[in-house]
Symmetry: C2
Subunit: 260 residues, 2 copies
C-alpha cells in the first residue's frame, strides 16, 4: 500500500519502519517541524512536508499519529479526496474522524514506544476498527502484514483497553520510578531491583496476576505495612499511594495468602 | 556446607534447590506441617521434621524462612549450639536474631517466587549481613556459590529495599490485576496487554524509569485523564488510585512530555 504518515513521534517512527519492512511504500511524512519530518522521511525513503497544504492525494491511506486533541484539526485537511483516513489513538473514538469522512478507521498500537529502543513489531497488538466492514477487513489485512496480534476492537472497548494500559504500563512505570527514588535516597542502585521487576512481569505471561500476588498486603501483614508507612513519614503522596494500593489488595484478597 | 532449612514455603523451596545444585547438603527441613516438610525434604534428599525438638545440631547453618512474626519464636530453639542462624526477611532487622545469639546473619533474596515457576537463581540479588565481619564474609561466599548478584546490605538499607520492592513488584502486580479486571468487564482478554507489560518492564532494564514515562499524566493531558476518571465512575478505589498516581506523575514531571 501507499501510506502517508501524519506525525513523526514514537508511534509514527515505529509504524513507518514496520510498514517499510513489510514492503509498503511511505509516500510523505508530515510534521509541523520540518527537521522531524525530514529525519523520519529520510529513513523510510519518503518526502518530508511541514505544511498540510502540501499533502499529496497520490496515496491509499493517511495514518494520523499526533496528540489526541490535534486529530480533529488535521482530519479536514486529509479527507477531500475520499482516501482512507485512520488515527492511532486509544482514547479518541472513530466518530471524530467520521465527522469528516465515511472512509475512516482506527489503527491502535497497544504498545509503549521509545525512539531509542527497538520493539519486535510482530508481537505488538494492533487493534483495528473501520467505519464499515470492508474498511475493517482491509485494515485487518494491513495489520497482519506487520503483526501477529491483530484484534477487532470497537471504540468503546478501545477506550477501556487504553485505560487498562494506563494502569498496567504508565502507572507501573511510575511505581518503578518511586522505587528508584527510595533506593537513591539510601545510596542503593536501581540495578538491585531490576531482576525483580523482570520476574514480576514474566510471572503474568502465564499466570493471572491475582494468582501470583505477593507482599505484606496479600498476607494481611499489618505489622510490616505499619512499619512501611512509618518509613514514608513526610512523603505524603507515597504514604497515600501505599495505603490505597494495600487496602485495595486486601479488599481483593479477603483470605490472607502466605507467600513465604 | 551443611544447611538446615526452617520453613518450606516459596523462599525455602527455591533456596533448597539452589543450595543443592551448588553442592551443599541440606540436612533437615522443618515445617509445622509434616507433609510440607516431607515434600521439600524429598526433593533435596533431607530429613523432614515437624517439631523443633527434633532439630539436629549436626549442621553449619540454620536458614529461617517463615513469616516475619514467627522468627522470634523459632530463633531460641536453634541457638543453643552456637551455630550460625540467619533469616531471609526483608523487613526484620538483624537485631531480632542477635537477641538470641551472636552468630547471626541475614540472607535476603530480593526476588518474588512462586512454587510453580522456575527462576534463574544466578540472577537473584542476594543481600547479606552478618553480626560480625567474618560472618558477613562467610555469607557472602556462600551467596556467591548460588548467585552472581551478591550485595552487602545493612538492616536499615534492607528495610528500604524491601519497601521499594513492595512498590516495584507487589503494587505493580496489583495494577496488572486491576487492568485484567477492567478488560474482563468488557469481554477482552488479558492476553492483549501482556506484550505491553513485558515491554514496560524491559524498558527499565537499560533506562531510568523517569526517562521512559509515557501516558496521559506525563503529557499533562487533562482531557484524557478526565475521560478516564468518568469511565471509573462507581469504582471509588480505582478512581482514587488513578487520581493519586496521575497527580504524582505530574508532580514528578513538571514539564509535559509528549510521547506521541
Amino acid at each position: 500500500m501507499r501510506i502517508t504518515l501524519i506525525g513523526s513521534g514514537n508511534v509514527s517512527t515505529h509504524l513507518a519502519a514496520a510498514f517499510k519492512n513489510a514492503g509498503h511504500r511511505i509516500i510523505q511524512v508530515y510534521s509541523r517541524q520540518m527537521q522531524h519530518a525530514a529525519l523520519l522521511a529520510y529513513h523510510v525513503g519518503a518526502s518530508a512536508i511541514d505544511s498540510l497544504a502540501d499533502i499529496s492525494a497520490d496515496t491509499d491511506l493517511f495514518v494520523i499519529s499526533v496528540k489526541d486533541d490535534a486529530i480533529k484539526d488535521i482530519a479536514p485537511h486529509l479527507t477531500g479526496q475520499g482516501k482512507l483516513v485512520v488515527h492511532t489513538s486509544g482514547a479518541v473514538s472513530l466518530q471524530e474522524l467520521q465527522n469528516f469522512t465515511k472512509n475512516a478507521g482506527v489503527f491502535y498500537l497497544l504498545q509503549t514506544f521509545s525512539k531509542t529502543k527497538e520493539v519486535n513489531f510482530w508481537d505488538v497488538p494492533l487493534c483495528v476498527e473501520g467505519s464499515d466492514d470492508n474498511i475493517t477487513k482491509m485494515l485487518e489485512e494491513l495489520a497482519r502484514t506487520i503483526s501477529n496480534n491483530v484484534y477487532r476492537v470497537d471504540s468503546a472497548q478501545r477506550k477501556v483497553l487504553h485505560l487498562s494500559a494506563v494502569f498496567a504500563c504508565n502507572f507501573t512505570n511510575h511505581l518503578y520510578d518511586i522505587s528508584q527514588q527510595l533506593l537513591a535516597e539510601h545510596n542503593m542502585s536501581f540495578d538491585m531491583l531490576r531482576p525483580l521487576i523482570t520476574e514480576t512481569a514474566d510471572k503474568v505471561r502465564e499466570h493471572s496476576p491475582a494468582d501470583v500476588q505477593t507482599g505484606p498486603a496479600v498476607r494481611h501483614d499489618l505489622q510490616t505495612m505499619t512499619a512501611h508507612l512509618q518509613m514514608l513519614e513526610g512523603k505524603d503522596e507515597l504514604k497515600q499511594i501505599y495505603h490505597l494500593l494495600s487496602q485495595d489488595i486486601i479488599k481483593n484478597h479477603k483470605a490472607p495468602n502466605s507467600d513465604k
